[in-house]
Amino acid sequence: MNKSLFNGTGTLMRFIWRRDRLRIPIWLLSFAVVSMVTAVAFTDLYQNAAERQAIAETMRNPAMTAMVGPGYGLDNYTEGAMMAHQMLLMTAVVVGLMSILLVARHTRSDEEEGRIELIRSLPVGRLSTLQSVLLVMFIVDILLAVTTGLGLYALGISSMDLEGSLLYGAALGAVGLFFAALTAVFAQLSQNSRNTVGLSVIVLLLGYALRAIGDIGMEALSWTTPLGWVLRSEVYVQNIWWPVWLTIGAACLLAVLALYLNSIRDLGSGFLPARTGKAHASPALQSSLGLAVRLQRTGLVAWAFGLFLIGASYGSVLGDLESFFADVEIMQEFLAAAPGSSLTEQFIPMLMSVMAIIGTIPVLLAILRLKGEEKNNRLEHFLSRAVSRNRLLGSYVVISLFTSFIMLSLAGLGIGLVGNAMMQEGLPLGVFYKAAIVYLPAAWVMTGLAAALIGWLPKATGLVWLYLVFSFTVVYLGALFQFPEWTEKATPFGHIPQLPVEEQNWMALAILTVIAAVLLIAGFAGFNRRDISN
């Protein structure tokens, strides 16, 4: 191969590192710290083998398998086995997300903005930009494997030996590398960065869903994604290394494919066709609301589909769950502890809270799109015409609120319809639907918070994401790690009544709605009096 194709790769790698000198270390540090904190929390929570074994019993059900993957070493549930079982998959998904975002940022985004053109005009090889990104990601993933692996080993927990810890890190790194290479391929195929990220995330989430179905029955499906592969390494139990090599091998093939595709295409073009469009705007497009809908249509449809799919995959395990509980005597005793509702029902609120928080992501995306439009200097097209600021912000708020309704409805219907089809004794669909839709006020509070930030602290809109992550942590992990009560009350999602187990609490819902309204009004007031940045 012509050596000049890769000219300047080293310089470009240093340049990428310079641009991401904060971003990459923060990602790496987060993974190491979260992993270590979790491992410590496990040892604190379950102080002896008997306690760990008790928790292992509650893990032996399809719902948990679908969510976190198959449990290895459940008969001897050490801290290590617990860590690998409950944390590896979730962490791997986030590592995949990191790879997708980093790679898309340095490939198609840069190309779309015309920055790669500038670099190409210098004495730099045609494949250097892509190769430098891939090599940087390779280094990042090695660092990830080493820091997380050594970090876990350094805790000195007896069941978490050096080999297992390194394998844990290596599994994460391999998944990261795979999705980095996959994103690099999509960056060649699609002509813009939004589709690059979108397609890659779809593959990631689809992999998670397929693996869920695979792990509880149709095992072949688990082999369609590296998320399924790396779970087979039985970290801290058997320490099997070949799934890591398999994942890295697949990543290398994808990387070569990406480089090949890059070498045969023109700068700025893609392989997925870009068709010419309409010469005239349809009536539906001709308003600020119409445009806002149009801009987000594809993304929102994808999210709606995804939410239904997540609901459906949770629903699909309810049937197994039911028959599983029926078999286990201990469980039936446990069941008596919560009178009036079956164990299946008790699982519903927990699943719903997770889905409600995931469903809030598109809700926030919908309103924060306004910020993106401002950043791209496109709001002046509206504000220089006969469009008031209220109308402009209102368009995005309306879409955000509407999205919350659609997402929660679909999540509820997904779990309800599929769940009922799987269970012997189904529940009324309304039970599922109510349990999902009751989260609406919490989602509205998030919309309100986003609006308030847009109005008053437009540079700090990222805070709302932080708050959502915090909410997810305390709601999802809080129960697992027994966080103090107030942490759950610090998020709107913690105030939602846990239907169908708890009583409906209209008061809490009303208060959340009022808070959302106040935040929204504040947002409008702020947006009306501030400069639009450029």
């Binding site: 813009n192 220089s384 015409r385």
Partner: protein, 309 residues
Amino acid sequence: MSILKTSALTKDFGNFTALDGVDIEVGKGEVYGFIGPNGAGKSTAIRVLLGILKATSGKAEIFGLDAWNDAVEIHKRVAYVPGDVNLWPNLTGGEVIDLFVKLRGGNGQSRREELVRRFGLDPTKKCRTYSKGNRQKVALVAALSMEADLYILDEPTSGLDPLMERVFQEWVAEAKQQGKSILLSSHILSEVEKLCDKVAIIRQGKIIETGTLRELRHLTGSILTVETKRLMPLLHEVKGVHGIREHQGIVSFQVDTEKMDEVMRYVSGFGVVRLESSLPTLEELFMRHYEEGGATQEQEAASHEQKLV
């Protein structure tokens, strides 16, 4: 009555003063040139006038209404073309034009087709495939296809080729005939010179000169190009002489109007062979203001070079 008026308009960004007591006034049927280099405050002034930025102090009025509070009402009769046009990559140019026309509440279908043809724009292409010039055409077609009383154009031709620049200039001439008012910000001085009735020069947020081109020229004085039998050794010491440039024995320089008499007397002492007097171009006016502001000698030389070629 003035269509657009600012008085003592000031805009601060933190410690930085982007606009410092700007006064401009555009009358009905006037084409008003707003010139200054990048970063002088042209776009900031326009964005305050459009109610996108809030003035720190001072007044900005269009049609006698407040630019911030009555923005929506004002914009029903204003058309704007930004200098840097950012569009939605996944919409076609045609869709964007229709959206923009609709947002102003207008219906410019017949003119739209004509303008699309005149500017040679393909409206079925996605915006992401457009070059800067084509994006600018989209904004121009959307703005020009609507009936408006005031057009605010922020460097509208910076990405256009000379042919399209001419199409634009034709349109300005038509609009002027119809009594429309235009605020044209530009740093293409020949364009401003050709099109504008009045000019304001802005530097570091301050208006440093304003008036009709004739007034400005009168204030500045003329350019003399002289060939003499003997050298004029002390010409640079004569009061009222600026920007001396010599080229193959021919000397040219700028003369302040009120010092013309003395300068002529000095020059005539050296045996005049040839003498030409001309009014300065806008570019020369502009450069003079910037030279006083400490622009480099190089720029000065460049401007005169151009003139002599």
